[in-house]
Amino acid sequence: MAAVSYKPYFSAGLKEWIFTTDHKKIGIMYGVTSLIFFLVAGLSALAIRLELYQPGLQYMSEDAYNKALTIHGVLMQFWWAVAIWGSFGNYLLPLMIGARDVAFPRLNALSYWFFFAASVLALITLLPGNHIRMLWTGYPPFSLNDNAGPVAFYALIIHMLGASSLASAINLVVTNLTMRAPGVTLKKMNLFLHSFLAMNVIQILGVPALAGAVTMLLMDKYFQTAFFDPTRGGDPLLYQNLFWFYSHPVVYVMILPAFGLISEMIAVFSRREIFGRTSMIIAIWGIAILGFMVWIHHLFTSGVPDWIRILFSYTTVLIGVPTGIKIFNWVFTLYKGSVRFTTPMLYTLSSIFMFLIGGLTGIPLGLPAFDIGVHDSHFVVAHFHYVLGMALTLAVFGGFHYWYPKFTGRMYNELWAKIALVLVMIGSNLFYFLQFIVGLEGMPRRYADYPAIESWIRLHELQTIGSMILGFGVILAIANLVFSTKIGKKAEDNPWQSPSLEWLIPSPPPPHNFDKIPHMPEDWDPYHYEWLEKQHKKH
């Protein structure tokens, strides 16, 4: 395209970063913040694993353990699994639809700075005296108890994050719907865009419920209201309902974009259109809608009436159907393809593999007859670490590698990226698979200490070893990505030969993205790889 060469957007000075409204810079800031907190959360997880290595308390007190659990949960959920999509969404969405920026660039900057404010508050809670020990769920009446720590921090953090999420979600939905370049029709939107659309709609519908719940919690604790205090006529289950009304759908906020990334990568590296594209889109929306009808499975043992438990067990397992459709379609995308085993493809395949195990183990948790024995056990922990912990993280890292040349103009080191993946897969499966078993044997979750049951000790030892391998693999992968920004080989503009719009402009993109707003021809489609070959022949 343009013959003029620009200074890469990321070589800007500090002042420019702070005052920027460029969606790419904001995306990078989201990504860096998210990664830093991911490391903090990961380290707290390793501390937890170290403590569980043997029964008894060797390295920390119960309170320290509970703090570590809270830090790990809150940061992984909100700073990693949700906020990392702020990075991908902001950076890539405008590029994919052929826009020069998002619809409301200033609002976009505000979203990030709300998120930044929440990050500062979160760091303050790490200081002595400000520890929160009520886990990310913050169930009353425990959270009204002094043992829980300063609840106000938690409520403010959730409000900051909520404001950030809402603004960002509205921004991206409007951008997606109104700013698509001519030729990028709804039908020709790729699955990344579809899943981000669904994910942002979930955010808009769900966040108010959580904001309401924590506001009531705040008022109960500091302003003598009694929404949740049973001694004054409140009902603690009200909080759980409000909380999970958002916090169950939020798992789809986390995983739907991961599905989007997987779809992009598996298609480009099989060199063919995603199989069953229409049913994939229906499945995305099916998950988004069903996702709002299943929250009671978090309350299966909490004293809600039995008939409600049964009703919600049906809706819960039905969510397995659209997710199943997605997995089958990914598998059949490989069919008659020309599969390239590049690093992002390996991450993608690993992610699907982990999601399959996580998904299959999620089904029995929707069956009260099984859940009654494993509710709040390590089985549940293992399940959501397979889906949200591993499938999501592997998709994110796949995405980091896939769009690395786009973000930085350079290539990562292939060998180290693959070694890191092997370590992550060995470590995580050793860790989380054994966690299923210790959960089946009854180990309750959130336990700093456990009785010296022979098989539990053995299982916990191996899990801790697995977690250390996993941690090492993750650090290796991140180190590779960080160092490659300086020493990586120069990348081509379109190393994967994808016709998706973000790849048709130089890498890294110029500050204004497109010299001219692209007019995409009739025969263009983000998954029509032959189109790109035809273009090459023309020139």
Partner: protein
């Protein structure tokens, strides 16, 4: 029914086995074609450089929508059938009232006898590690007659806890201001753990109790012995 360690754990076990069987099949149905496609359609220079055109298949899409729907609805219905039994105590079950508090359990028997189990009763005071159930002082143990269904009425004095009977594979929350229920039956004599399964603060991980399952006659004898009230009031004042 064959002799099982505890009810309703047998239903849990059957549900688990049904699910495991189906999951392994689904796993293979996904994994085998995936592995086959990955090998067969891998990029080979000069041989498989370009993807072939593969048509969309409505039939396949319908197939993998309908079959999983049937499978999950079967699973949920099977679970429904089991859950009725797992939730509803058989007639003639002995009722005990369990009140949870930070951090321990109060068991109240039909004749008013009470047992208190505290978090510090199940640990070695010097090393702060869990004792084995046999080493826990009998005073803190809830005696349960073997082979008798027990209906538990649960509530809590402060925050939400969850009463998990380890051998019976059942858990139910103890919610302040509500009375929830569950039932279990242990057939083999011995000593078993009860754990708190809902996070409740500092000593959550030590909020365990021991069920001492004894023959019916021994249980009757124990039940009618006087309650050691002085110890309990001491403890309560702590």
């Amino acid at each position: 029914m064959k002799e099982v360690l505890a009810y309703p754990a047998n239903y849990w076990q059957t549900m688990y086995e049904i699910w495991l069987f189906i999951s392994v099949i689904i796993y293979l149905v996904v994994f085998i074609p995936a592995a086959y496609f990955l090998v067969k359609y891998r990029y080979k220079k000069g041989i498989n450089e370009k993807a072939q055109h593969a048509k969309e298949s409505k039939a396949l899409e319908v197939l993998w929508t309908i079959i999983p729907t049937i499978v999950v609805i079967y699973l949920a219905t099977q679970s429904f059938a089991f859950y009725r039994v797992q939730r509803n105590a058989p007639e003639g079950a002995m009722e005990i009232k369990v009140t949870a508090f930070m951090w321990g359990w109060e068991f109240e028997y039909p004749n008013g006898k009470k047992v208190f189990s505290f978090f510090n009763g199940v640990v070695d005071p010097e090393k702060n590690v869990y004792l084995t159930p046999e080493k826990v002082n009998d005073m803190f143990k809830a005696y349960i007659p073997a082979g008798t269904p027990i209906k538990v009425l649960l509530t809590s004095r402060d925050v939400i806890h969850s009463f998990y009977v380890h051998p019976a594979k059942v858990t139910e929350d103890a919610v302040p201001g509500r009375i929830t229920h569950m039932w279990f039956q242990v057939n083999k004599e011995g000593e078993y753990w009860v754990f708190c399964r809902e996070y409740c603060g500092t000593q959550h991980s030590k909020m365990a109790a021991v069920l001492k399952v004894v023959p019916k006659e021994e249980f009757e004898k124990w039940l009618n012995q006087g309650v050691q009230t002085q110890n309990i009031t001491d403890r309560q004042n702590l």
